[in-house]
Symmetry: C2
Subunit: 435 residues, 2 copies
């Protein structure tokens, strides 16, 4: 058996027995054909069951370092077309086998499937294993129902009781919607929550009820405030959704950093630099070296450097923190646990806010005016006729159309392998492809 | 008499008889000493009273073009220390002589004086003449009281009745505060409003009541959405203010464009380029030529180009528009009148929103936690020990300390001359300096 075969099989063994690290995930990009990998895995994995995890981890790390350059030449080709319903079914089954009530399992599967449907793969099934691991080591409680701690006609303060993000988020936004329908507005904050996926899931929940939705969450510290050489806030996303006529809408869903870590990782894998304004090195200076940026994990706020008004992105991130951690009494700022919390069984204690506003309380004809604004913006003269001006939510709408047309979502070999591992680990029926 | 003396006197004549253009304002920066200019003006102006405005305007424009390079060498030195109370007194008197009720005159003077106190000179007395002109040509009504058109326990829709921005804004935020104290939150939108100065004025009004304040306004189209070669939205500012312990606070007040037009104008005057990411040329491409950027008046959204996530700043600007123009039923997007509306007597019909949230409806100890967050952020290790990490509102706090220490605000010769002109035009006691 060749060394590379040994390493591939070792890494798969590691994935089955332990948490998946980004290093081990990358191994699967060494080939473009997941079915070929699967064959190797199935035939050879048993040979290495006896290896200790430490040895496997060391091997995986070595391979990780040496393979970065090779991976740079590997395309991001996706294979494995999976209908959204099947994605949802598979994830529901995984959560059901991970100490979750049926309602809570469904809530999480719906959330993650929607992220993939909208093209936000980083926040979809990509995170399934992280959630599953948190449930198995009891750092998240899959059975709880959140509890209202304090309430007024237009507000509520909620204890998420360390429940799953979607469970807490749905509970809070539904409460905000109820209040908006009663008194015009509802503002709800949650403490003791967990990663709640795409913020847009919750704001669209309000939008589907004919309301304006707003939501945000704090996250692990990754953003370097202007002038700072260390992270002080998370990527702290904000979402805002509003309904227009004939099913059209405005759906903003954005981190308050310039980009997410994932974009830097892609550049690093390609061996290409990152644009000036995405991230800082460990000394707090903007860097265009993707490797340096990935190591420092110090994202620039939206706007980049001070001269291009990065302090505004920093200010927006801090505003989200005030509405999340400070208002709800959860952890906040650099007190939130690090993103790479493998091994920790402490609860995340994230803070989140949810706002619903009933537009019928204001000028009549809201949806018509929003449609008109959407038309104006989409029809502005583009710099490049091939690239029309888009509205917040348009890239997602385009992606959903493609998924509907294709009959499913195309996942990467990496993602499919993770699912294969999970299906074996949890004794869940494997995910099925159309082709 | 030399040609330059002729030109200086012509421009002053023009200022007295007509609207001040940026061209004529710049003339006063040709000297560092306003008292010297005043002497020339007083002794020679009468000679040119007979000149037609057209000739004077042509002369001023020629001088403007030829003097740009000379002005590049002129410092931005400020003279004329004026106590804030005197600034307020002078502006109140000007509004009283411009068809305003005493309450409305005071509201506007308080707003503009606060902007100067906080160091936002572009939004302070600098705009006095624009407001005065709008009042005299009846494009704004200085006497009206806004009217509530629709109300629910947590919301109100208000008709600003084309009143002054501060009058509409104070009315709306006070209503939002009242509702927040009753049911936890208040959301108020206004249609038919006017320029309302610094958005932070209204959010701090809520903050001084122990509440969280949020506010935004739409503005004249100046921002070029991502991929567009024409402006589609305004600078659409957002403010967010919250109280911490011992008088500390978090006060964000920012345009959703990378910078305001004023910053580009300063670079143009200095003959220096602008950073990549501030503005577009008339073809929609980012430019570093300050002259080109000033002519196109196409500001880049916060974030700059598409690769550095300028679409997020564009999305934020559109979000503000939804809460302002779309929710209130005012003008919106590129239907708002242009910034340079000289001669137009159409009302602005701007839309604005005002939100107040009572933090005592959520986790106890809000102000303490905010103080803790402020401490964490301010004490992050700075890249340059000489430049500590700041919090939103800190630059303004520093400016206010300096004003208190100096005993007043230092204005530019340009600003003082405008005040001198106004005092004569409106028969108002001239503004008094300490030195």
């Amino acid at each position: 058996m060749s060394l590379s075969s040994l390493r591939i099989c070792s890494s798969i063994q590691f994935c089955r027995q332990s948490l998946i690290t980004s290093s081990s995930r990358e191994l699967y990009k060494l080939t473009k054909n997941i079915r070929h990998i699967s064959t190797i895995v199935e035939s050879r994995t048993t040979v290495f069951r006896g290896l200790s995890n430490d040895i496997v981890i060391a091997q995986v790390r070595n391979l990780h370092i040496s393979s970065v350059n090779r991976m740079a030449q590997i395309s991001e080709e996706k294979i494995g077309l999976v209908p959204i319903e099947e994605t949802r079914r598979f994830m529901t089954d995984c959560f059901l086998k991970s100490k979750c009530s049926p309602e809570n399992a469904k809530a999480m599967a719906d959330l993650l499937a929607e992220a993939d449907y909208r093209g936000h793969f980083s926040h979809g099934m990509n995170r399934l294993e992280m959630y599953i691991n948190d449930l198995h080591k009891n750092s998240t409680d899959g059975n709880v129902i959140p509890e209202v701690l304090k309430e007024s006609p237009a507000t509520a303060w909620v204890d998420g009781k360390n429940g799953l993000g979607a469970v807490v988020g749905n509970f809070c936004m539904d409460l905000a919607i109820k209040k908006a329908k009663e008194v015009g507005v509802g503002v709800v904050t949650a403490r003791r929550s967990n990663h709640y996926g795409i913020a847009g899931w919750y704001t669209m929940r309000a939008m589907h009820e004919g309301l304006i939705g707003m939501s945000g969450t704090n996250t692990s510290p990754l953003m370097t405030p202007t002038r700072s050489m260390e992270a002080g806030l998370g990527t702290n996303p904000l979402s805002f959704a509003a309904p227009a006529d004939n099913g059209d809408s405005f759906v903003l869903d954005m981190a308050t950093t310039a980009v997410a870590v994932g974009k830097i990782e892609i550049q690093r894998r390609k061996g290409e630099p990152i644009p000036h304004g995405w991230a800082h090195d460990s000394k707090g200076n903007l860097t265009t070296d993707a490797g340096v940026a990935f190591e420092s994990a110090c994202l620039a706020p939206l706007g980049g450097s001070e001269i291009t008004s990065g302090y505004k992105g920093y200010g927006l991130g801090a505003m989200i923190e005030v509405l999340c951690g400070i208002l709800s009494g959860s952890l906040f700022s650099n007190k939130v646990r690090k993103w790479t919390h493998f091994g920790s069984d402490a609860e995340a204690d994230l803070g989140q806010f949810f706002i619903a506003i009933d537009p019928s309380c204001f000028a009549p004809g809201f949806t018509g005016r929003l449609s008109e604004m959407n038309d104006i913006l989409r029809n502005l003269t583009p710099v490049d006729p091939e690239k029309p001006v888009l509205l917040a939510g348009d890239p997602e709408k385009n992606h959903m159309k493609k998924v509907d047309s294709d009959g499913g979502v195309r996942y990467t070999p990496n993602q499919i392998q993770t699912c294969t591992n999970l299906s074996q680990r949890l004794d869940v029926s494997p995910i099925k492809f159309i082709n």
